[in-house]
Symmetry: C2
Subunit: 433 residues, 2 copies
């Protein structure tokens, strides 16, 4: 059985650090790597070089994804895709996305160093867009690979008015330079070929993604890694509570219909009901606004959002219904009017049960306590689930912080993740031998 070098995970972390600065960032003094920008191109060229060193061929697919290929034992072998994204949010962290790509490369490097061929090929994907980092749509490139991309999205433009088609053309044209880029085959098909990034169902065995947790659960339990059970189902509401605006000095307490006091009771019930479910359900009020918004005026209207998530849709829906019922009760008791609009409803994307078992076994073999947790955030895996069974491994990140320059991963944790991923791959190989 192949195990990674004891420093493979640490190297993956170091490479993420290296990619956190110019020329791999579009902003000075921080990391912002947007889809199809010069920083993205420089990153693809650099990471393509690392793929090559690891024993892979590398290409840029028609959606701007970097794809490293490590052949299987037989030429007609299906592929295991290991991937994550290379783009980042503005002023983001170095590990959200790239760490999964770097660990995929380390897996292949270890297998290649051992001369190991598997009953499946490994394709390492560095997806171009997951964060919606440049265009007003997220996860464009994993949706292209999974074949679930809406054709209408091909006409979108960035905030400067540059159409996706032009950005894609410029990205591919950058390949004329000298250096490591020459090792990359590119597919300058332009927008018409964007959909050619699609992989054929049946030829992809599974999708494996390692990603930082972006939450504090593993850290709280003292664990380096955990098996992801799926991407949580999301519901999002916009709530408007209307009462009676008034002078803060002249309106006696008993005559008030204060929508902010009502909204406060609602915010507390959101927290209380999610807690009371004592499950993976999370519910959050992230935005609140009181109008007209002056210290000496009782608000007439309050607006806030509610975000409810769970790995299990029915559980999410149960808590969401409890919250909405409570809002009705509170509004009735306080003689307030309200309007609730559902603005977002994303189904759950469960990871494959058999692959979760393989992951748990790999965790135990690597000396780790198995721990399953749901992903509250969306990941490329949720799109890849339309193509093949998916598996995800979460890696502890300091303080649960992400989308922030303070994002931090312990290299020792990345080493553990690498061992678990290799164990997962060997177990998958044994199953398909």
């Amino acid at each position: 059985m192949v195990t990674g070098s004891c420093s493979g995970g640490a190297r993956a972390v170091a490479r993420c650090d290296q990619l956190g600065l110019a020329p791999y960032s579009d902003m000075m003094g921080g990391l912002y790597r947007a889809y199809l920008t010069p920083a993205h191109r420089a990153t693809v060229d650099q990471v393509g070089g690392w793929m090559f060193e690891a024993g892979m061929s590398a290409r840029i697919d028609p959606a701007g994804n970097l794809v490293g290929h490590y052949p299987g034992a037989r030429s007609d072998a299906p592929a295991l895709i290991i991937g994550s994204h290379l783009d980042s949010v503005r002023d983001g962290g170095c590990y959200d996305g790239p760490l999964g790509v770097m660990l995929g490369i380390e897996c292949v490097a270890a297998l290649h160093a051992a001369g190991r061929r598997l009953p499946f090929a490994i394709d390492v994907y560095g997806f171009g867009d997951e964060e919606g980092s440049r265009f007003p749509a997220a996860m464009l490139s994993s949706r292209a690979v999974a074949g679930t991309l809406d054709v209408d999205l091909m006409t979108i433009a960035d905030t400067h008015g540059v159409p996706l088609a032009d950005a894609l053309r410029d990205f591919n044209a950058a390949d004329d330079d000298e250096g490591v880029m020459q090792i990359l085959e590119t597919a300058p098909l332009g927008i018409a070929g964007f959909h050619k990034a699609r992989r054929r169902t049946g030829h992809v065995l599974a999708y494996l993604e390692a990603h930082i947790e972006q939450g504090p659960a593993l850290e709280a339990d003292g664990l380096a890694v955990g098996t992801v059970t799926g991407i949580a189902a999301q519901l999002r509401y916009r709530v408007v509570v209307t009462g009676m605006a008034g002078h803060a000095g002249t309106t006696t307490m008993r005559l008030r219909r204060d929508p902010l006091a009502g909204a406060a009771a609602m915010v507390l019930s959101v927290e209380q009901l999610a807690r009371a479910d004592n499950s993976d359900v999370v519910a959050t009020v992230g935005m609140i606004e009181a109008l007209p918004g002056a210290p000496n005026v009782i608000p007439g209207e309050v607006r806030f959002t509610i975000d409810v998530r769970s790995g299990v849709e029915t559980r999410r829906d149960t808590v969401a219904e409890q919250i909405l019922d409570r809002i009705v009760e509170i509004a009735d008791a306080r003689d307030l009017d309200f309007a609730i609009e559902r603005i977002h409803d994303l189904p759950a994307s469960p990871c494959d049960a058999a692959l979760m078992d393989l992951m748990d076994a790999a965790l135990v073999a690597a000396g780790q306590s198995p721990r399953r947790l749901v992903s509250g955030a969306g990941h490329d895996a949720m799109n890849m689930a339309a193509l093949c069974p998916t598996a995800m491994l979460f890696i502890r990140c300091k303080g649960g912080i992400s989308h922030n320059p303070a994002e931090h991963v312990d290299p020792a944790d990345a080493d553990i993740a690498l061992q678990v991923m290799l164990g997962f791959i060997e177990r998958l190989a044994a199953k398909h031998a």
Copy 2:
């Protein structure tokens, strides 16, 4: 005993309505009458004409106040000042301020029609600025009359950079035109003379102000008018609650330090503690903001304001202390940090006890149930209290609405107010006979 014509109050209301449009407003399609603007000048000229018709001489004092004078029985008689303000907030209502001036004129009109001279003169003031309608300071003109104006305020300018001195000069220069303005003596002393608007202590017997309630208490009790016990003491705080920002999807409920949930509990306690005091204490959260403020992010910081008022300072302070104690408890229980800044502390300005008794007697004589209530809002009376004993009469306004075009006063209520004011004047005259 002189009583007003049965329609004197209704005429006062109609005059307020007339002043709600051009040329008495600085904005189209609504009322905004700011201090020392063309609309203010047109208003002063028009109201000065009404003063003249009512049997008064009229002048503009050095602070831009319109002053009508009705002499007493003896030339050395002290004065009863009846006043309120002529300016308005932007897109305000017609009665907040002007109604008190118009009712003062009606009082004199009734006395003059009856040939009645009193042991005191009556000076009817139309204060130029109460709302802070133009300059970054409120109640400039009643403070000038009371002699409590800070000299530093003389250097202020409006949002267009026009200094108060220039505005005052232009206001006085407008007097060169023809028409009713000619009846007004003006005092074009400019900024240097602003303080000459001050009235001498001892020469002013009392100050009487009628004003719309700006709250719903009288309406709720089915009363047209009420005796004001004083201007409430105000405290205002700015509160910042800090927790831990996080991803709304990835941060489990038990690991959250959500400052918005904490702030919601604090907002509820503000309401609850003010209610529990079961007195005239009012407490309001009018502004709230959650940062960074995205539906999918647990806020890291929440900012809100607290406004606490009562006619009795100690009562206000007791409730404010209870609120601050509760904030500490909530923050401790939730492991949140907080900072509280006191940004405003205005002492109570009680009305004169003997004058309140006169007002109650006048109320009963006019067939009204006596009702005392505190003013949660500030009024010119609070400044005049530095000069002489003060009395205030509140008039019911529809829905408690003010600072809004929907502000409404029933003319019948204004008629009642006029009878009460005349009764008050007669009782004051009897006392000083």
